[in-house]
């Protein structure tokens, strides 16, 4: 039982990170109907931003850690909006395949520019937040783990409020439901799309730092695996569906952790892709998704 709870906690904290990344995939899909493959590299840049900013604040303090996280989120929000403006906006109206290929190009560009600037050797991520091991009953929990869950929870609630309670959030949903109708009520779709990229990229930056805190070595290719898994999580929850991405991330992280702790631990990374194949076969719209017939 104790071991089960321990693993559950590990799974949820990994899943919370997948969820943060998955939200970016799903939101961008919502407004532009394509998968932004460069998203996983924005996650990587978020971790590096945390690494460099972390050297400028006192290590191991809550205020310093939060300031670094906020700084990295701003940097990645700007990066995400710049990527959209430079790489994707010129392709508005082009076939989806063209945009997808461009996204892969942007992804490779970020990875290899990262290697050029940061070097290919992994670096040890600093301890940004105060570290402690807490015992809750028989469970031994690291403060980092709790922090991951707490930060992810706060960010997801904030996102929920933005998307469902604010004017720009309602506009985001309107654009994703019917871009032309949104334009006809006066929405500047470009502004909404830009905002969506900023929001998703900020969440990815937070995810990057939280990930680096628990798996404390970072390198320019570190986004590839978590990015793929978060993509699977977004599909699992129903692409385009925001609560679905959160649920998909948590589920995937938990399943992966339990598989990793079992006799089949070698298949830990394969499990995400097994789930992807199953979902595509059994429920292509995802857990919470619904396929709406596309209007022509």
């Amino acid at each position: 039982m104790t071991e089960f709870l321990q693993q559950l906690l590990n799974g949820l904290s990994l899943g919370a990170i997948y969820a943060l990344i998955a939200l970016g995939y799903t939101m961008v899909y919502g407004v532009l109907r394509f998968i932004n493959f460069a998203h996983s590299d924005v996650f990587m840049i978020g971790a590096f931003a945390g690494y460099y900013l972390g050297q400028r604040v006192p290590a191991g303090t809550l205020a310093g850690g939060l300031a670094v996280m906020a700084g990295a989120m701003v940097i990645c929000a700007v990066l995400g909006m710049a990527i959209e403006r430079l790489a994707y906006r010129p392709l508005r109206g082009a076939p989806t395949l063209n945009v997808l290929i461009t996204a892969i190009g942007v992804s490779l560009f970020l990875q290899y520019t990262g290697q050029l600037i940061f070097g290919a050797t992994p670096r040890t991520f600093p301890q940004l937040f105060p570290a402690a091991r807490l015992s809750i009953g028989p469970l031994s929990v690291s403060s980092n783990q709790l922090l991951v869950i707490a930060v992810a929870l706060v960010l997801m609630i904030a996102l929920q409020l933005i998307v469902f309670r604010t004017r720009i959030g309602t506009a985001m949903r309107a654009v994703s439901l019917n871009p032309n109708a949104a334009r006809l009520v006066g929405v500047n779709n470009d502004v909404v799309i830009s905002f969506t990229f900023g929001l998703g990229s900020a969440l990815a930056a937070a995810g990057g730092i939280l990930y680096a805190m628990n798996y404390p070595s970072i390198d320019p290719l570190m986004g590839v695996m978590p990015g793929l898994k978060a993509f699977v999580a977004a599909i699992l929850g129903g692409i385009g569906n925001i609560p679905g991405a959160a649920l998909g991330g948590l589920l995937l992280g938990t399943v992966e952790t339990f598989v990793g702790g079992s006799a089949f631990s070698t298949y830990k990374d394969a499990i995400a892709f097994a789930i992807l194949i199953l979902i595509l076969l059994l429920r292509p719209a995802g857990l919470l998704g619904r396929f709406v017939a596309e209007k022509v």
Partner: protein
């Protein structure tokens, strides 16, 4: 108030409009009639900035709006209720109305517009929390018109508001359209396949055929035109 001159619009190699011109005076209801594929929807989409013309221009209140993006055209008070209604299906009726007032910042004015819309379509007030996609076709049409009115337009373009709606409800919706025109002085461009109805409520009419204006004049006069009756009004005898 609105002048369209020599509009040429094509979809790839297909010419949808080949030189459409008309003028709509302030405060009038003017109708654009024509059969399937005549180019009515294309005309409205070009005026509202969803499509770019190959040639020609659109002038609204003396300003050339041909090259403006759609959201900037709405901001000038020209609002388009599209064919097929296009309500935001997953948003509530309330949120759809809020989106209609997207460009307004003054809360009091938004509240006043809401009351005005509820006065015209009381049904919407009863359905505020309902998801728009689950409304009946007629209710969705009311919502689409209500959403447009939320933005305080000076000029309203309606694309086939009678499409797929029961005859009794069509009568109601047309009464409302006339009422809005009378009480608010709102100028209306009405696109209809139901020419009888359109000519009844409008002051002037343009008849579109394969991307050209083939006939125009006061609605009362066109109603009695034998050629028009034969093509669009079921061919019955005058009277």
């Amino acid at each position: 108030m609105l002048t369209v001159s020599d509009l040429h619009v094509s979809y790839g190699a297909i010419n949808a409009l080949s030189g459409v011109s008309f003028t709509i005076p302030q405060g009038a209801i003017v109708t654009l009639i024509g059969g399937n594929g005549a180019g009515k929807t294309t005309t409205l989409r070009t005026i509202s900035g969803l499509l770019r013309p190959r040639r020609g221009s659109v002038t609204f209140r003396g300003e050339d709006i041909t090259a403006l993006p759609a959201h900037a055209i709405v901001a000038r008070g020209l609002c388009h209720v599209p064919e097929g209604r296009m309500v935001f299906a997953n948003l509530s009726v309330d949120e759809n109305l809020a989106m209609g007032a997207y460009l307004l910042r003054d809360r009091e004015r938004i509240a006043r517009n809401r009351e005005f819309v509820f006065g015209i379509f009381p049904r919407l007030k009863e359905r505020l929390r309902q998801t728009a996609g689950t409304l009946s076709g007629g209710e969705q049409q009311m919502l689409a018109i209500g959403r447009a009115l939320m933005g305080d337009p000076a000029f309203l373009m309606l694309d086939e508001p009678s499409l797929g709606i029961a005859p009794r409800l069509i009568a109601t919706i047309f009464e409302k359209i006339v009422e809005i025109n009378r009480t608010q002085g709102l100028t209306i461009l009405l696109v209809e396949q139901n020419a009888n109805l359109a000519l009844e409520v409008s002051a002037g009419a343009y008849v579109l055929e394969t991307g050209r204006v083939v006939m125009q004049g006061p609605s009362a006069q066109l109603r009695d035109d034998p050629q028009l009756r034969a093509t669009y009004l079921g061919g019955g005898p005058v009277g």
